[in-house]
């Protein structure tokens, strides 16, 4: 239970860190420095989303293997996670291109699209009958949800 609280606390800290990162005061006024700092924040954002995705996927895998989650709900949840992962992949590619000097790529929209992909479906409404499985799924998705919620706060819309 202590570790659950630690993870939940990390999730809350994460939200505020994301929210703060978009409006942090930059010491350097060099546009190149500011740009690199912004890309670094974006890269940290997609990395954190990916960690949330992997944690969520491992959670539903464990629940399914243990018989707590029915296979049909694993399929629905996994489909949702893959959709968010693919949006995350597009953002990764856009940030890489921007890092390489492509000034035409709209990496910010690609990052915001991750939050849109996450919001397109609410996994808690999949109709999972088991109350226990539902609670476990919410815990497993908590980190991902926090990372997705923090994206618009940090990168604006």
């Amino acid at each position: 239970m202590k570790h659950t609280i630690r993870l939940a606390f990390a999730g809350v800290l994460l939200f505020f860190a994301f929210a703060m990162s978009g409006c942090m005061h930059h010491v350097s006024s060099n546009p190149a420095v500011v740009y690199s700092e912004t890309l670094e924040s974006a890269s940290a954002a997609v990395d954190t989303v990916s960690i949330g995705l992997k944690a969520a996927n491992d959670t539903v895998t464990t629940l399914t293997q243990g018989g707590t989650l029915e296979p049909e709900y694993y399929a629905k949840t996994h489909e949702y996670l893959v959709a968010v992962a693919k949006a995350n992949d597009k953002a990764i590619a856009a940030i890489r291109a921007a890092q390489m000097g492509d000034t035409s790529v709209d990496w910010k929209s690609a990052v915001l699209a991750i939050a849109d992909a996450g919001a397109s479906v609410d996994p808690s409404t999949f109709g999972i009958k088991s109350d226990t499985a539902k609670k476990s799924l919410l815990i497993g998705l908590a980190t991902l949800k926090t990372a997705l919620t923090a994206i618009p706060a940090s990168f604006g819309k």
Binding site: H3, T4, R6, L7, A10, G11, L13, L14, A17, M20, S21, M24, V27, S28, N30, A32, V33, S36, E37, L39, E40, S41, S43, A44, V46, D47, T48, S50, I51, L53, K54, A55, N57, D58, T59, T61, T62, T64, Q65, G66, T68, P71, Y74, H78, L81, V82, A85, K86, N88, D89, I92, I95, R96, Q99, T132, K135, S136, I139, G140, T143
Partner: protein, 75 residues
């Protein structure tokens, strides 16, 4: 299986991802600021190393999710 048992069964996952998340949070909070005396060029180079590392880690985790085998027990 009651709630307490389920949390206990998920503890390995929480232990596994807890440290990673705290690390990500710390990185975001500190924002890897430019150190005193560090030139802009050196700082940008350092940031690029971190960007590449973050993106590579993210791509690896995404791929793990997308290619995860179906855990459904065989009928």
């Amino acid at each position: 299986m009651d709630y307490t048992q389920l949390i206990a069964s998920l503890l390995p996952l929480l232990l596994q991802y807890g440290p990673e998340l705290v690390k990500s949070v710390s990185a975001l909070i500190h924002q890897n600021p430019q150190t005193a005396g560090e030139t802009d060029e050196a700082y940008i180079a350092r940031l690029n190393v971190m960007i590449t590392a973050n993106l590579n880690d993210a791509a690896k985790n995404d791929a793990a999710v997308e290619t995860a085998p179906d855990p459904t027990p065989a009928a």
